[in-house]
Subunit: 224 residues, 2 copies
């Protein structure tokens, strides 16, 4: 028991329920009854539902951003002077995510889904919170991407980063459902690591595609 076992039980329950159903669709009563704590405990320990949402993110994101900074440090040290390649940068990110110590077997996939939801559900407070708490590793990642794709114009790079973000956030945000479908249709089991391993080459290839053509092809064409 010790001090406040309650806090962690709430965070665990909230994390899972948010991932399953979204933020607005999860009530404090669901959380507290799953966590087997009193309803008032959330407001007592966190202050409000929004603050609880922030705490759920912070519990994962704070150690993660530290891990990520280290991974970037290592990467830049290894490359001494030379900017890291796109592939290296993307792998540094995904490896940091995958190697985070996991609280339970669902671990990373729950959190990926939460990150996806954070972008998708338009929860203004959450975006503000994430932006002002974790802007540093984010900017650093952006800088690395820029140095790894000097051939792209700023505008092209901007949009392609959005495409990457979208493919990632979307896939991860529904990865449980997608895994289930795959399991039923093709009888294949899939781990988050495998999804990431499939995603990175997809992203890298898209990022480095031939220059975008601004008009649809005449009528007969193919890609590289």
């Amino acid at each position: 028991m010790a001090q406040s076992d309650t806090v962690d039980r709430i965070l665990d329950a909230a994390e899972e329920l948010f991932a399953d159903r979204g933020f607005s669709e999860t009530s404090l009563r669901m959380i507290t009854s799953k966590a087997k704590v009193n309803l008032a405990a959330v407001n007592y320990h966190f202050g409000s539902k929004n603050a609880l949402i922030h705490a759920v993110f912070a519990r994962f994101l704070t150690p993660f951003s530290a891990t990520l900074e280290n991974a970037f440090d290592d990467l830049e040290a290894r490359c001494d002077g030379e900017p890291p390649t796109l592939n290296q940068t993307l792998w540094a990110l995904t490896e940091s995510a995958v190697r985070m110590p996991q609280r339970n077997e669902k671990g990373i996939s729950i959190f990926m889904r939460l990150l996806g939801l954070a972008y998708t559900q338009s929860q203004g407070h959450l975006r503000k919170f994430l932006e002002q708490e974790y802007s540093q590793p984010f900017s650093r990642f952006m800088r690395l991407l820029k140095e790894a794709t000097p051939q792209l114009s700023s505008v092209d790079r901007y949009w392609r980063i959005q495409f990457m973000l979208g493919a990632t956030a979307f896939t991860m945000s529904s990865s449980d459902a997608l895994r289930d479908i795959l399991q039923n249709k093709l009888g294949v089991e899939t781990t988050v690591q495998e999804i990431a391993a499939r995603l990175v080459p997809f992203l890298a290839a898209g990022m480095q595609a031939e220059d975008a053509m601004l008009v649809p092809p005449s009528h007969k064409s193919s890609v590289a």
Copy 2:
């Protein structure tokens, strides 16, 4: 005025509010006050909030799926016998979307965001509705994708389709905000058509990337 101007006003308001804020986060009172109709009108004309959500999708999706079927017919006719290329298939889809008659200047981007939300917010009823109403054009698109990428294993293709879907839905769903950022940061104007023109090559390149490697690269590597 004529018959039921009310129905369309509700649909217009609902479409915009859903796109801005999501489904659960939009109340019937917001919708009816924006549409300047009585609160009871929604339940009178549609039966329930869920049925209203379905109606919003049906208003766009029904004509769109007809347009899309025609585009696929044309494409397959032009290719007589040969399976259309990936690029051709993707262009057929985006052109059908872009060329849909638009109700207002926001038009397509609002709807893209709604489609993204439909996948992301776990609204079971919506997925069921979409699956059983529009399964035909969807399956056809999937078949074309399969024929255009015979080199991919079923599993690879499955995941890469999810990645494409994610990049598309996510980008389009926030394209207004993204356009604004771009406008402010780089002083560049962008249309939905241009975004699509940037997106298609990205997707095609990602779809046709070298086989996914299931282990991270040793430590020095680059892409093609």
